[in-house]
Symmetry: C2
Subunit: 337 residues, 2 copies
């Protein structure tokens, strides 16, 4: 092999790679759909064994396994494949932390629509008026969300409960409970915690199922409806607002936060896990990039801490602080009444 | 901000990031479609100036610019954006190396189809029988290819001509000429080179246009039709086979290579730029990942050097060598009659 010619020029690789990036999502969706990670976890490590197990051609299996190896989901050695610690934890169906369910929620219905409309969405600065349905009452997308995304929320929910659940009698309100995991984690960790989940009635069925599985149904109650319209109750020690404010503009959020402030007991706190970019809006990458996904909603955004801090302050909260949830891909605002 | 809790656990970030990777392609397609890079090149550096120029909302512009910054296409400083050397060279419409045309060919028609069918494609080991149209005669997709992808081929074409064009009288055959740039680069560099481009008649119109623009029409002739069926002629010093073998299986390629071998003069060479993974099939990433794109064809692949070497040897070539084209994302097989 001869040595490379030396060319002092910008390299077009980044353009090519970025235009091909969608293949990364597609390949992972395919692997999850074929349950390839579970096949390997069960001891099928050669192309022929994996292909037989997932009922696929050897060529397709080889191309997929190599692609997954390049992306860091598999290790290839001597023609055999094995799982990485990450894929063993999150993509083997036998793992309690299995996250393969996220594939359909995050990818399938979105790619084509976002691709078709991206220029119009950027021009408009949000979802096109014809596409405002996701925030309508009882939209089944939030049932799908509650079922698909729960696995990714397990770890942050437990980290947050570990920070704030304590052991004294407390009453926790979980606004936009979804799968319910954030509130349920408090009930599991603190046997004296009462938890109330608020969401659309159809979504709360998922939260109630999860409360049942966690053995905390007797301390889990629900408020069905819109957080902007229902009576939240009062005297809560902690109000959880997970992944909710990013759907709305600042004025709308302040309305909700005023209600939350009024519903808290003296000394109570609001706890808000969300994607929160730094003030430069370009770091950390995962939090900052979330703003693109929110551009697909009517008026949502990935708010910086200073933007969130202002909303909470305008709503009457005395002070706020941000906490990291690493290695979980989110951060936390804690707001004191 | 308090310090992160220490959690010893696999991190789910890779799953989330990969499922979101399609947004990278979508955002770049949107930016190219809005001609955002040219707007910035022309001196619009604040959100408001860029938004006004591309006729888009400030919010959409801000989200897009930050996303592009995170991906490495822009630099953000003090709220103003500027181009990187790569985006200035390849994404500013005024640049002679502008590559924005690649967006539509590489992304638009493919994403939705590939996503919808990936599981079936992997099972089947190639394009579904209902999707074999790309290789049919005169398919207009190859005219689109010739027009869209030419900018990415300019640099490798020139590098290859620099290696092999010399200054003596030579006759070059460019098999699957497409845009014609590989052959045209020989004619430009060597005024004694005669070049013949072979492709479907509709595609050759693009090659002839490009030969005209390069001022070499008087030394550029064409053979319309399928490389597998037409008479190639004889006595060529160099036969170029750019990005062609990856569409077919080894047996089909050997048939073509036998014809090419017969059409070469004694001492002639075949020159084959293509995506060529190492024998491990997982490096270099860009070449190795190309196999996923080829899985979407009936029987194509990203062949390793040893696979290509065997095809050329079976077709009668005496010896082969591989050369690097870095920083261009491809490699080269040189095969001696």
């Amino acid at each position: 092999m001869s040595s490379s010619p030396q060319v002092q020029a910008p390299a077009p690789g980044i353009v090519f790679d970025t235009l091909q990036a969608y293949q990364r999502s597609v390949a992972l969706v395919g692997a999850i759909d074929l349950d390839l990670f579970t096949a390997i976890a069960d001891g099928n490590e050669s192309i022929s064994a994996i292909a037989a197990r997932i009922n696929a051609s050897e060529k397709g299996t080889r191309v997929l396994c190599d692609f997954l190896t390049i992306m860091g989901f598999l290790v290839k050695q001597g023609g055999e494949y094995s799982l990485t610690p990450d894929s063993a934890a999150f993509l083997n169906r036998h793992s309690p932390a299995y996250m393969g369910t996220m594939a359909n929620f995050l990818v399938n219905p979105r790619v084509a629509g976002m691709l078709e409309n991206i220029t119009a969405i950027i021009r408009h600065g949000g979802a096109l008026p014809s596409d405002h349905g996701a925030l309508e009452p009882e939209n089944p997308i939030w049932v799908e969300f509650a079922r698909s995304m729960a696995p990714m929320m397990q770890m942050p929910a437990e980290l947050i409960a570990q920070m704030f659940a304590g052991s004294k009698p407390i009453h926790v309100l979980d606004i936009s409970a979804g799968h319910g995991l954030y509130g349920i984690a408090f009930a599991k960790r603190n046997p004296n915690a009462l938890v109330t989940g608020l969401d659309w009635a159809n979504v709360l069925e998922v939260a109630k199922e999860n409360a049942g599985k966690a053995g905390v149904s007797d301390r889990y109650s629900t408020i069905p409806g819109s957080a902007f319209e229902v009576d939240l109750g009062s005297g809560y020690d902690i109000i959880l607002i997970p992944n909710f404010l990013h759907h709305f503009d600042a004025a709308t959020n302040e309305k909700l936060l005023r209600k939350a402030h009024a519903a808290l007991a003296q000394g109570g706190i609001a706890v808000t896990p969300d994607f929160i970019p730094n003030e430069d809006r370009i770091s950390p990458p995962r939090d900052a990039m979330f703003s693109m996904q929110m551009l697909g909603t009517p008026s949502g955004d990935a708010y910086t801490y200073s933007e969130l801090e202002k909303m909470f302050r305008n709503a009457g909260f005395a002070r706020n602080e941000m906490r990291e949830l690493a290695p979980v891909p989110q951060r936390l605002v804690v707001s004191y009444k």
